[in-house]
């Protein structure tokens, strides 16, 4: 068949600039074929090449003695957790596909990140996710015109459709695959309307010696294709993800959204882990973004070899697929495996056992070229290393966004103090961004694999990694022919090699929008704080940079400053970045999304007795506030960018609270010391909604079973802080604050120890009763915990009815 000739229009349609096309020709020393043009366009898209962000990403701390595989080396970073064990984890976005087709877009996002993990030789043991959507509640104001209100209503309906679809898609894929989705975050804001964010994270476990590389090693080694046949779905998805989202593009690009099959993924995962145990594999790589193209040229580039494949041997779902389509297809659940020559039979045996389609499609060469043939005719012949690594790199222009001036100029002068603090807290608790996310996580299987110690709903999820979670060394995970019973039924009392890890994902994008640098720091600080509250020490970070179009200098400024903040935070908490993902062009016709550098952090918990949850435990326990109640140097007293300012005054502005990383670090360290010392019954940080929401959640967030919350009241005395505005005292979001509780008899000891550790600690109340009461200088505020719980727990379910 004849391929279209290369015209400037065609080049432009492939998202390549004239300069980039020049560069391409220089590499080839000739005009590209149509297939080659397609290959370059996807490999040089932001999604694959990071051409706009590479210089910035260099700013991240990526080194630590614990890091076994560092950022950018492979599909995911790997960190040592002791005793010869390690964890591999990474977060990745699937924003554009989810905007077009929420269910499949989100589902395949989960599938993609799971593949990244078992490609490293690790068994995937848990998933978490971070979602951003447009508002799911009306919010139309009286002064708005009827037409405007009608418009809002339809927008809200669409936001709800996207929300429901994304959650169902994640549930469908994760539940069927059999991975627990144990933590996450969801925020609702107008800036995500029509451009939702779906960031999916997966963590896997393995032994040090089980780490495998995505490299095409060994000249002459055969290249195997494993998984379902290649179809036209997901054509050039990576390129699609690297453009602004418009109504038209959404319509046209529906074909760029892949369709997921978690059942197939489960088989491919089990087969690959079984195969890797045989040591017959020289290299392995999943076919994710840019499918066959990316996997072939990257494996060759990493090994410094070449690779040659014959497309007619690639299993194909559709008839008459062109080389262009086969190379750019993003059909899911496919793997590329480089097999040690002579071991083919073992590989075939494993795949046949799992009834998986496979084909030998090529071999490793010493030419350094990526050669693609179709029925013997060469359709692409490209220097693999240059294609993979020589993408153009741009130092984009940055300019401080104009809006920031107004943000900094904002004062509380025009903002009256609250007249109804009781009503304010009730509204905040029911606000979807703060309300319980049980409507979401009850749809996710968050307990499969028998490891979930702390379920979703506390500051951080805690996972027990049991010895038999790790891929079996040199032994298939399951017998192919029935053997005798394992007489080695290890005596139950024998000590187990178990690890406890904590996970959290955080980012208050409003802060980042109002101050990209400070906001970036806060995202990391909150993640580290959540880990500390659960009793964990940070191990490492994976970040997902979701931003608008980097060609806009104001957007690039947000990106540069946010990255600077995140990097500083990771350095401060000794939680190096092990990898991550960049998603740009997140904007719809109305404008860009709030800059959202999602931060997922993993920590290690030494002993089971250190595990701490956020809810109050027993009547009579003392409530202690760690950290100073307010930041005296903040003229906005923590109300800048706060949930209270947004919800009660309709204003998303003001300089956000400042983040003092040194102080935060001391606070987290001190909290861990206190936890290790014993006697800390609960720990919950103050974030959105401030002290009042934190205390309320400590009273109402323990769920023992279906429709069976364990509610407990609290009597809190805040009269000592009369120097603050009431709204600032209750709802200000000053950083570096944690609410803990302990038995009354331990309180004095704990206060003394905190003093010795150099952090402020104030006894502010006592746990107990059926009400939460605040005594302030002027009055007493009373909430019934039952009512608070109903507002907080059922809010999202009511909106989604």
């Amino acid at each position: 068949m004849t391929e279209p000739g290369i015209t400037p229009e065609l080049v432009q349609k492939h998202g390549l600039t004239p300069d980039e096309y020049e560069r391409l020709q220089a590499i080839l020393g000739r005009q590209p074929t149509y297939t080659e043009l397609g290959i370059f366009s996807v490999m040089w898209s932001e999604h694959c090449s990071y051409k706009n962000t590479r210089p910035l990403l260099k700013g991240f701390p990526t080194k630590s003695p614990k890091i076994l595989v560092g950022a950018g080396e492979e599909n995911a970073g790997i960190i040592d957790i002791g005793d010869g064990l390690a964890i591999a984890f990474k977060i990745e976005s699937h924003n554009h596909p989810s905007a077009v087709e929420p269910f499949q877009g989100a589902a395949t996002g989960v599938g993609g990140i799971i593949r990244d993990i078992f490609t490293m030789g690790a068994r995937p043991v848990c998933a978490i996710n971070s979602l951003r959507l447009g508002p799911i509640e009306g919010g139309e104001r009286a002064e708005e015109a009827p037409s405007e209100i009608a418009h809002r209503k339809s927008q809200v309906a669409n936001n709800q459709r996207l929300f429901a679809g994304v959650v169902a898609g994640i549930a469908h894929y994760g539940n069927c695959f059999g991975i627990p989705t144990i933590a996450g975050e969801v925020y609702f804001d107008r800036s995500y309307e029509g451009n939702p964010l779906v960031n999916a994270f997966c963590l896997g476990v393995l032994r040090h010696e089980q780490i495998v590389r995505g490299a095409a090693k060994g000249i002459g080694n055969p290249v195997f294709y494993v998984g379902p046949a290649t179809g036209r779905d997901g054509l050039a998805g990576a390129a699609f993800a690297s453009q602004d989202l418009t109504k038209e593009s959404s319509e046209q690009q529906r074909g760029a959204v892949q369709v997921g099959d978690p059942f197939m993924e489960k088989l491919v995962c089990e087969a690959c882990l079984e195969l890797l145990a045989t040591d017959a594999v020289a290299g392995i790589q999943d076919m994710g973004a840019a499918g066959l193209t990316c996997s072939t040229c990257e494996t060759a580039a990493r090994a410094g070899t070449g690779i040659e494949i014959e497309l007619s041997k690639v299993p194909q779902r559709a008839v008459g697929m062109t080389p262009y389509e086969i190379m750019l297809s993003e059909s899911q659940e496919r793997m590329l495996i480089i097999v040690k020559k002579g071991r083919e039979a073992e590989v075939q045996r494993v795949f046949d056992k799992w009834d998986l389609p496979w084909a030998e499609i090529g071999f490793v060469t010493n030419t350094g070229q990526m050669v693609v043939k179709n029925h013997g005719a060469i359709v692409a012949d490209i220097p693999a290393a240059k294609l993979a690594d020589d993408a153009p790199v741009y130092q984009r222009e940055a300019r401080e966004p104009a809006y920031l001036e107004a943000v900094r100029a904002f004062t509380l002068a025009g903002i009256p103090d609250t007249s109804d603090p009781v009503g304010d807290l009730n509204r905040l608790l029911a606000w979807p961004s703060i309300a319980s996310k049980n409507w979401v996580y009850r749809q996710y299987d968050h307990m499969v694999r028998d490891g979930t110690v702390i379920c979703p709903g506390s500051d951080a999820a805690v996972l027990r990694i049991k010895e038999d979670s790790f891929p079996q060394p040199g032994k298939p995970p399951c017998p192919t022919i029935a053997p005798g019973f394992e007489t080695t039924a290890s005596s139950p009392s024998s000590p187990k090699l178990e690890k406890l890890i904590a996970l959290t994902v955080d980012c208050n994008a409003t802060y980042v929008f109002l101050d990209p640098y400070e906001g970036g720091k806060i995202a990391v600080a909150e993640a580290a704080r959540n880990l500390a509250c659960s009793g964990a020490v940070p191990l490492g970070t994976t970040d997902n940079l979701n931003f608008g179009n980097p060609h806009n200098p104001e957007i690039f400024y947000q990106l540069r400053e946010a990255v600077r903040g995140v990097a500083e935070g990771c350095r401060a908490f000794n939680a190096p970045v092990t990898g991550g993902n960049v998603s740009l062009y997140n904007q719809n016709p109305v404008g860009p999304i709030d800059p959202t550098p999602t931060v997922a952090m993993v920590g290690l918990i030494e002993k089971a007795e250190h595990i701490t949850t956020q809810w109050f435990k027993d009547e009579g326990d003392a409530i202690i506030l760690l950290g100073s109640v307010a930041d005296s140097a903040d003229p906005l007293q923590g109300l800048g960018g706060s949930a209270h300012l947004q919800l009660m005054h309709g204003q998303k502005t003001g300089a956000p609270p400042r983040c003092d990383l040194e102080k935060e670090k001391e606070l987290h360290g001190a909290l861990r010391c206190l936890i290790y010392g014993g006697g800390i019954k609960s720990a919950h940080d103050c974030s959105e909604g401030g002290l009042a929401v934190s205390l309320a959640e400590s009273c109402i967030s323990q769920q023992t079973a279906r429709d069976t919350p364990r509610l407990i009241g609290a009597a809190v005395d805040l009269s000592a802080f009369s120097n603050l505005r009431l709204d600032a005292l209750l709802f200000g979001e000053a950083q570096g604050r944690i609410v803990i509780s302990s038995a009354a008899i331990d309180a004095v000891k704990i206060l003394e120890r905190a003093k010795l550790l150099g952090i402020q600690a104030t006894r502010i109340g006592v746990v107990g009763g059926t009400r939460m009461t605040f005594k302030t200088a002027v009055r007493e505020l009373i909430w019934e915990v039952v009512e608070m719980h109903d507002l907080w727990w059922n809010s999202i379910a009511r909106l989604m009815k």
Binding site: F263, L267, M447, R449, A489, A608
Partner: protein, 250 residues
Amino acid sequence: MNFAVLQFPASNCDQDAVHVLKHVLGQPVRLLWHKETSLGDTDAVIIPGGFSYGDYLRTGAIARFSPVMQAVQQFAANGGPVLGICNGFQILCEAGLLPGALIRNRSLQFRCEHVFLQVGTTDSPFTCQIPPDKLLRIPIAHGEGCYFADPSALASLKTKHQVLWRYVNAQGEPTEQANPNGSLENIAGVCNERRNVAGLMPHPERASEGLLGSADGRLIFESLIHWWLSVHPSDRAAQTDLEHPVLIND
């Protein structure tokens, strides 16, 4: 007591069942691949949770035709104990080894949460060690767990005391609120007339260690082992382990 845990493509609670039987209860256990035609030297069969063959057609609809299920049919016909958990329960109903069917949750959504269960009778190998008034706190995780049976089947289930577990609230009442999926009469699990085959939607293997928040599920496995000992007092392996019950962070 020799346990065999079936493994279908996309079984995903198989390793959990093995973990609990082997490491918590100290029983000999092995995984049995779906292509096996013989159960070998098996004393009890566990059909674990998951999405056998993807369950795209209908839960358990394909698994029932697998070679290993033919062997399980024979095993059950000979009186061997079989316990189906979640997808395993769905498969047993599809295979006709248990009455009734499991359909989409009333909410049309997947549900994962802890629920309270109460035993309908202690007269079965799967409940004999559970105190009648004890509330079992055990998680569910399913999209198709709404138990359904036609009126006559339901009536016979009740007269023959085949309802082993019901969803109840914290006070032990089988209220509509306590019913997570719309199951008829809050039924969470049943057994066959001969009482050697049982299935339930909740996951006892996820509630067998204190560290995970509840060890109530262990009572179901321990019931089975006790029952086995009562009919095979010579089974030393199981005996010794039960004489020294395992407590992991309880």
